[in-house]
């Protein structure tokens, strides 16, 4: 090992030894141990530390060796044995000068982590190689730890074989689906069909700029996209986007394409027919983890009809629901009738608030708003329609399509389509029984 390679270890020893350190002396010692006596780097460092009056256990102080899943996001110095999944070079500007860095994903058997190499001169990573990383540090970004290889970090190729799947190739990063999008994701690669593209003029830091907004859809759902530069997108275009980032609004993930992002045009039909397709059914747990979704289909049991369901009166000016013919903002007004159901859907993985508007309430209860008004008046019971909803909907299984938004009260599904789900229990039961026999 030459002096340059040993430099980060010298730095590390100097850091542990503190004031009493003489870097030249450390470097000399380390070179002697490693190159002359052929002691392993690890033992050499321990011995030198002991000899120079430091505590060899100091190497284990912060974190030592960890698996990816054990990372917390505040390790000062951590060692990891990982496979390099992707390497993406990038140039950034630091104080007017250009600097090369690299980023990507690394993984071990416990999980995957995003990394950044800040010193590409001393640390060079090869995609697909397994490496022992020493003295990296972590920072938390949006709740997930990110690994940083700074000037103290060193990397050794390892012969060990890690049981880690490779990332799908092409562009370096794994391609994801709309349903996988979550707030804070970076370097996203995704394919989908564009709809409702629209150019907009905005003023950003005093400059006029053209941006493009629209919607991107795949077989798992839809998300709004914003291209922060001018781009030619047409309705129905099939595209592959590389290097987008995700920011959520009210829990709904939105794709953003910054300066570095790239839009590749795909030939028509590459993604199949998406125009009429309904997104795949997702579990409520999965949707909850995304925080929201623009277009989602879920199935679950209606386990509660909540207060405020049924026939309500709304303010003619602001559409707020009236309490005793009084609007919170406009005072006593002559309200207009409306129907809605606020409910809880539960599919065994999680539960979620679901709101059905007038049309869906009419459809699910098989009643028109006029009939609802009539029943309420005749029975002199303002809760008549709510009670009807309880009777007809409680414990029923529904398939609901709509938009999920999150606020302080958690996620809420605003339904745009709903139907009772009739399951053929005999057919499914027989199938399950056959499975069970294989399973016994």
């Amino acid at each position: 090992m030459d002096r340059e390679e040993l430099a980060p270890h010298v730095e590390e020893l100097a850091r542990v030894l503190g004031e009493k350190a003489d870097k030249n002396k450390i470097a000399e010692e380390l070179e002697k141990y490693v190159n002359l006596y052929r002691v392993t780097l690890e033992w050499a460092k321990r011995d030198i530390l002991k000899k120079m009056g430091g505590n060899p256990d100091a190497f284990n102080d912060g974190s030592g060796r960890k698996s990816v899943a054990e990372l917390t996001g505040d390790e000062q110095s951590v060692d990891l044995l990982v496979k390099v999944l992707t390497v993406n070079p990038k140039t950034i500007e630091v104080g007017g000068a250009h600097k090369s860095i690299a980023y990507g994903y690394m993984a071990d058997e416990s999980g995957r982590v995003q990394y950044t190499v800040w010193e590409t001169e001393s640390v060079q990573l090869k995609q697909g190689s397994t490496v022992l990383i020493r003295n990296a540090y972590t920072k938390e970004y949006k709740g997930t730890p990110q690994l940083n290889l700074g000037n103290r970090a060193s990397v050794e190729e390892s012969e060990e074989i890690l049981d880690v799947a490779d990332m799908p190739s092409g562009g370096g990063s794994a391609e994801v689906k709309i349903a996988d999008l979550a707030d804070g994701m970076n370097y996203v690669v995704i394919s989908g069909k564009v709809s409702r593209p629209e150019k907009r003029e905005i003023t950003a830091s005093g400059e006029k700029k053209t941006i493009v907004t629209g919607v991107l859809s795949d077989d798992t759902g839809s998300a709004e996209i914003t291209v922060w530069k001018d781009a030619e997108l047409k309705d129905g275009d099939e595209v592959r986007i590389v290097g987008a980032y995700v920011k959520s609004w009210k829990g709904m993930p939105k794709l953003n394409l910054g300066d570095k992002a790239e839009i590749q045009m795909l030939s028509k039909g590459t993604l199949g027919d998406l125009s009429s397709s309904v997104p795949k059914v997702r579990t409520l747990e999965d949707v909850e983890l995304s925080g929201g979704a623009m277009d989602v289909v879920v199935r679950g049991t209606l386990v509660d009809v909540r207060e405020g369901s049924g026939l309500v009166m709304r303010c003619p000016d602001c559409r707020r629901v009236l309490q005793k013919s009084t609007c919170r903002v406009h005072g006593k007004v002559k309200g207009t009738d409306d129907l809605r159901i606020k409910s809880i859907l539960d599919d065994g993985t999680s539960s979620m608030s679901v709101v059905f508007g007038k049309e869906l309430t009419e459809q699910l209860l098989n009643i028109s708003i006029e009939e609802a008004v009539k029943i309420t008046t005749e029975e002199r019971n303002p809760e008549a329609v709510k009670e009807m909803a309880e009777e007809k909907l409680f414990a029923r299984t529904l398939e609901v399509r709509g938009m999920v938004r999150s606020d302080d009260f958690g996620p809420m599904l605003i339904a745009r389509d709903a139907r009772f789900l009739e399951v053929d229990v005999r057919e499914e039961g027989a199938k399950l029984l056959t499975d069970m026999e294989g399973f016994n």
Partner: protein, 293 residues
């Protein structure tokens, strides 16, 4: 804080639960860990309401009810703190299909003994198809728990993280790990048998006798014939009960009389009655009367 999910669990599994994890502090929920690792705070049940009595008084009603599913009976009590459920129960006449969403309750009369029941939040009358749908869904959920348990047993040191990596949800992974520590070597055969019986309950081709496997090769043919004979007699007695029922159940003495005319003795009639009661085909609305469910 998010709402607790409603677990789909059969009565036999629910009633065998004996591990409660009490929440520390005011707002932390408590959980009942089932033998298969369901981490229950809330439960969703659909079955037959077989008993429903006000054990309180008119002003302060306390409704105690029994709900049977293909594996056993759920017990529940609704009092003044469950006004909506109590009101709904007051209007229900057994037998009928009901759906219940509620929280678990435990009762320990002595150290080492634990009885569980449901404190209902919402009760509603439903159609038979809803019950069938629930049985199917609960079979699926039970099979998921069995496979989590099997995976966990394969691991030298099962942890929540390892189970989540295999693909199980966090609550199930947590429940499975807790369950393994408490229930030790739980016999999964029993739960597999329970699940396949519950599935057969949905399939008309098995209806004559949920406990008889007609198409499985039987080494002792005579036993099989006897069993088949039992099943035929049970079906016969069941039809007698149905025909003698004028709305409030059939008087057992009359059924016995009718049985005698068909050549079935009283003792055998009693054992058939017990078998039908066990299997949940009939229940006793009042002493001395039988009703088909």
């Amino acid at each position: 804080m998010s709402r607790e999910v409603a677990w789909r669990v059969f009565a036999a599994e629910f009633n065998s639960s004996s591990l409660e994890m009490k929440g520390e502090g005011e707002k932390t929920p408590s959980y009942l860990i089932s033998p298969l690792g369901a981490k229950i705070n809330r439960i969703f049940v659909v079955g037959v309401l077989t008993d429903n009595d006000n054990v309180g008084n008119e002003n302060e009603p306390v409704w105690r009810a029994k709900i049977t599913d293909p594996t056993g009976t759920f017990y529940m009590t609704a009092g003044q703190y469950q006004p909506e459920a109590a009101m709904a129960l007051a209007k229900l006449q057994p037998p009928c299909f009901v759906a219940v969403v509620g929280k678990f309750r435990t009762y320990s009369p002595e150290e080492g003994k634990m009885y569980v029941s449901i404190r209902p939040e919402r009760v509603g009358k439903v159609e038979a198809s809803v019950r069938d749908g629930w049985v199917l869904e609960t079979c699926k959920a039970t099979m998921d728990r069995i496979s989590a348990m099997e995976e966990a047993m394969k691991l030298v040191e099962p942890t929540v993280e390892k189970l989540m990596q295999i693909g199980f949800s966090r609550p199930l992974a947590e429940g499975t790990v807790h369950s393994l520590r408490h229930y030790q070597q739980e016999d999964l055969t029993r739960y597999k048998g329970m699940t396949s019986d519950a599935l057969k309950f949905l399939l008309p081709e098995y209806h004559t006798g949920p406990d008889v496997h007609l198409d499985s090769a039987a080494p002792e043919e005579i036993d099989l014939e006897e069993e088949q004979d039992d099943v035929d007699k049970e079906a016969l007695v069941l039809s007698m009960i149905e025909s003698l029922d004028s709305g409030k159940g059939a008087a057992w003495d009359e059924v016995v009389q009718k049985g005698k005319s068909q050549g079935i003795e009283r003792e055998e009639m009693d054992s058939i009655a017990n078998s039908l009661l066990d299997k949940g085909f009939v229940y006793e609305p009042v002493l001395g009367k039988m009703r088909k469910i």
